[in-house]
């Protein structure tokens, strides 16, 4: 898929940051419930991440689907590896696997103290 000009840019994004979420809207203003759900999970785990808004970038929006062979957005990448979309992230959060992924990959999590 070297004919896809978005690939290089996507690769650059996921090389540059440990945790990258390709999403609709921004972490502060998600434009889709599924993107919002993943933002919420990452926030609950206290993980620093970069949100890439695919709505503002049609090339990335289409490119990311072939890049990962995954038809939907959001998509979460940790240390360059595709971890999953909304359903998988939610499931992994609920059963504790997601926290383990971050721990295994040396990504800091910081759960807020429960009030």
């Amino acid at each position: 898929m070297s004919d896809n000009p978005a690939n290089e840019r996507i690769q650059q994004e996921i090389d540059d940051q440990a945790v990258v979420l390709f999403m609709k809207g921004t972490p502060v203003f998600p434009q889709c419930g599924f993107s919002a759900a993943v933002v919420q999970v990452l926030t609950l785990l206290g993980v620093q991440f970069k949100g890439v808004d695919v709505l503002s970038d049609p090339q990335i929006r289409e490119g990311i689907k072939t890049f990962s062979d995954w038809p939907t957005i959001p998509q979460l990448y940790v240390k360059g590896e595709f971890v999953g979309g909304c359903d998988i992230i939610r499931e992994m959060f609920e059963n504790g696997e997601l926290k383990q992924v971050f721990a295994d990959k040396g990504v800091e999590t910081q759960e807020p103290a429960t009030a």
Binding site: D69, G84, G85, D87
Partner: protein, 80 residues
């Protein structure tokens, strides 16, 4: 164009004949579904790979005609 639950099930079963498929129309609007797919073919596959197999079975409808399909996949217990 929304997809009918029956079409979703048919496409999945065509690709994975052994699959047990349970589909729920979450809002009754033919556009937001939840599906549980259980198949022996998922054995040894990562969760991402399992979902990719279902998306492939849906032949490009996912993210297009099919806006929202909350997906859960699993391997039948007797195979474990």
């Amino acid at each position: 164009m929304p997809m009918q639950a029956g079409d979703i099930e048919r496409l999945i079963k065509e690709a994975m004949p052994d699959a047990q498929v349970m589909i729920e129309d979450l809002r009754g609007d033919g556009d937001h579904y939840a599906a549980m797919v259980v198949s022996k073919q998922f054995k040894g596959k990562s969760r991402v790979q399992q979902h990719q197999m279902v998306y492939k079975a849906l032949q490009g409808n996912m993210g297009d005609a099919l806006h929202a399909l909350a997906l859960q996949t699993g391997v039948p217990e007797e195979v474990d």
